[in-house]
Each structure stands twice: as structure tokens, then as C-alpha cells.
Amino acid sequence: MSANLSAVFYLISGVLFILALRGLSSPETSRQGNLFGIIGMIIAISVTFLSVGNFSSGFIYVIVILLIGGAIGAFIAYKIPMTAMPELVAGFHSLVGLAAVFVAIAAFINPGAFNLGLPGNIKLASLIEMSIGAAVGAITFSGSVIAFLKLQGIMSGAPITFKGQHLLNALILISIIVLAYMLCLTQSSNLFWILIAISFLIGFLIIIPIGGADMPVVISMLNSYSGWAAAGIGFTLENTALIITGALVGSSGAILSYIMCKGMNRSFFNVILGGFGGTDQVSTNQNKEQKPVKSGNADDAAFLMKNASSVIIVPGYGMAVAQAQHALREMVDTLKKNGIKVSYAIHPVAGRMPGHMNVLLAEANVPYDEVFELEEINNDFANADVAFVIGANDVTNPVAKTDPQSPIYGMPVLDVEKCKSVLFVKRSLSPGYAGIDNDLFYKENTLMLFADAKKMTEDITKNL
């Protein structure tokens, strides 16, 4: 296949990838979009085989390895529980990063195969692109591994900080640039290996100080990195499909990071510099005098909801931890049968990754047209009778609107307190991730339901 023809096909697969993302603008078109993505991928792979034109024994190995990898991927895709999506995505990011590193290494060892020159005499531009692809890929890999370990709970979600951390990171970043420059001057393979090694190290160091609550930002950020790594390799290989995809994924991840940061009212640098989301701030609340709290049981809650005409459910990550989404949907079904209007309100940072709560509700067969984003539903709280907060905390805290001293001041929150009554399912009065007390607990119209989310929801359903 001629180089021009294959370039045209790569362009087509790039366009199909754009359409794949475009399809996600609504659930109806999304499945078709995914299909476009799959077709784009098939075109890109087939064209590569045809343009290499080498169907010798190596070809068989490629197909076998492709199918083994595919089988592993398919197995994971069908087995993974929806609550574990953040871990899965972090794991997948690490694979893209590592693949980028491997391709860059292969190109460095055997540049002739990619028309980049000869070993020890690689074209300057290619060498720069290769270094960028390898370095960003390595950062994506080690960063994603740490994110995966933190999400999986193998590593503590608490931020790991030490003295001189930022200085060390800055020094490493500078040395990466210096190494890349030296590499271009000398073409020394030793420098190339060192460059990759310290990129792995910096990826690790960047993610360890970031706390568990900031994981949505971290995952989005790594998503973006994996795109830039792919784009870097795309320039090396002079491949349009890879360049387009890299740019798409890179900007997608960047936008998601921005949305997540905005949802927490924090600047991107504030998150990256880390140290937030730990438990060190909790102590300030210990000395507070005990304020009266109204607590109730499933019977009281059922009574309140039965007499309501509209109920808004506010789910948070705690619901997913308690695996209460199915029980919740059953409760809502019972409410709906009694003619009560029910909707769900989702905060942008609910869950451990962007859109996580929506997927969990969709899995529990909640129709997506009953689920609303913060801006869509926030005005409805004033007209609703009952707000049912399950597993959420900081995102409902009115202090974000009233107290400029609060660490979450300015964060967009759900106006739950405007409801006639608020039911708050929670195991204790402990503060949320931000480590601050929630004023909502002590409001006149709040009824605390101290129990496991799943058990409480089931009990309410029985009492309805």
C-alpha cells in the first residue's frame, strides 16, 4: 500500500475517533459513537498491516499476541464491577503509558524501521519527539500505577509528603529537560535509558502527595497525559491517526480535570501540589460543643416520604461503598408507585471519577432522564418536600456558601437545606473528606438516619 493511501486511511480513522467522542453528547447516539470508534481502530490496524506488507512468520506472532491481549482485555471488561471503574481506567492509562514507552524504545533501537535514520544518527526532530513520547509515557505509567494502588486501597489514600518535595520534583523535571537536550547532542543510548528511568520516578513522586479525595482530578489528568504521550509518538511515526487521537485525548483529559477542579473550587496547581484530602484538619472540630441533632429511624423516614409529593435523592460515594444503589432504586420504585415524583441530583465530584455516580445509577436501572446535574436541579430543592442524602456529605454543606473561612468556601454545593425536610443517611456525625463539620446535621428540618446506607434504604422500603 502506498504511503499516501495509508495516510488517507489513517485520516479516516482519526475522523471516526472524533465521531466516537461526538456520539457521547447524548446517551442515544453514544452506542453508535462507540461503534465508529471500533471501526476507526480496525481501519488503523488493517492499514498498518498492509503498509508494512510483511506477512512472514512475524505476522503470525503479532496476530497471536494481539488476540491474547484482546482476550485479557475482554475478560477484564466483562468481569469488572462498575464500582471499580476508576481503578480500571487508571490501570488502562498505565498500559497506554507503558506501550508509548516501549514503542519509543523500539524506535530508538531500530530507527530504520520507522524511516527515522540509523542507530546513533537519528533525525533530530524524531529524537526530540521520541524523548517527549517516552518521558510523558513513563510519567503516565508510574503515576497511573500509584493512582491505581491508592484507589484499590492497596496504598493508603492519605497524601504522602516530605520536606523538600517540591524542590526535588522541580530538580527532576529540569534534569529531564537537560537530559533530553544532551541526548539530542550525543545520541547516547545511556542518556535515553536514564531519561526514561527518571521519568518513571517523577510520575511516582507527582502522584504520592495527592490525597484520595482528589482522585477524580488525578485520573482526568493522567487521561490527558496518556493522550499527549500518544501524540508525541504520533509525531515520531509521522502518523496522522495517532496525532489526532493524541490531541483529542489530551484535551479531553484536560477539560475533565478542569471540570473536576471547578467542582471542588480548587485550582489545578493546588491539587497537583497536593497534601489535601488527608485527615490532619479533622482535629480542629473536636473541641466544638455538642450541638443537638435530631435522629430518626426507618419508620420516621418512610412516614415523611410517604406524605411528600416530590423527593430529591442526593447520592454520594458512600452509597457506592455500601452497594446501596439497587436498594435505593427499589425504594424509589415504591415511592413512584405511590405517585411521588422522584429525581436524582448529582454533584460534579460525586464518586471517584467524572460521571462515576451516573454509571452506578444506570447500572441499578435508574433511567438517565431522572438523573440531573447540579445546575439543572439546584433550583428545585426549594420546591421539593424531602431531600434524601445518601452517602454524600461535603457537597451538601451550606458552609461553602456562608463561611469565607471554610476550606470549601466557594465550592458549588447542592442547596439541600432549602428542602422542607432533609433525610441524611450516614453512619455517624464524622466529617467528610474536607475534614469539616456539616451544618446541615444540626438544622431544624434535618433528620439524621444513623445506619448503613443499604440496610436503612431496605428498611425504609419495608415501611413504605
Binding site: P27, I76, Y78, A99, V103, N110
Partner: protein, 103 residues
């Protein structure tokens, strides 16, 4: 004077960032998780580089140090491609509308 092909690729890259920017802003927030898994799958198009590396045999030898990295990268990218697209499909299949006629 001829323009370096690099400039063309850079133009594609910059324009694609803008396309990505507008396309991603139009993605509905409820589909942000599938967005991440599908971007994951498509960024594994890096497999094309892996295939080229794996099939570039020097003097008729299938396994050289560079093709070895190629084979490894094919494996990783294939996990991602199949895993990414299939898990996206699995998620998207769950998004259903309200049933009109409820019993």
C-alpha cells in the same frame, strides 16, 4: 521554498486540539466515565507503532531487541483496545430512558 512536513503535522495536531476541545465540552456530564474509557481505547491506536516495530525484522530475524518491545507494546495496547471499547459498550448499554408504560 518547500514547507517541512513537520509543520503540516503540527497544524493537524493544533487543529485537533481545538476539535477535541469543542467536542468534549459537548459531551453530557452523565457520560464522562464512558468518555474516559473510550478515550483510553482510542489512544491505544499507538498499537500501529508497535506493529511496525514488531514486524521490522532485521536480516530475516523475527525476534530482535526492538521487535521484542514491539510485541510487548502490542500486548498492552490490545488489552486496552478490547478492554476499553467493550467496557464502554457495557456501560452505554445500561443508560436507558424511562419506560413509558409501567406496570
Amino acid at each position: 521554498m518547500e514547507i517541512d512536513p513537520f509543520i503540516f503535522r503540527l497544524s493537524i495536531f493544533i487543529l485537533s486540539i481545538f476539535v477535541g476541545y469543542y467536542v468534549v465540552w459537548s459531551v453530557t456530564p452523565s457520560l464522562h466515565t464512558p468518555l474516559m474509557s473510550v478515550t483510553n481505547a482510542i489512544s491505544s491506536v499507538i498499537i500501529v507503532g508497535a506493529i511496525i516495530a514488531a514486524l521490522a525484522n532485521i536480516n530475516g530475524e523475527v525476534f530482535t531487541s526492538s521487535s521484542f518491545f514491539g510485541f510487548f507494546a502490542i500486548m498492552l495496547a490490545a488489552i486496552n483496545i478490547f478492554g476499553g471499547f467493550l467496557v464502554t459498550q457495557r456501560m452505554l448499554a445500561m443508560y436507558k430512558k424511562k419506560k413509558k408504560d409501567k406496570k
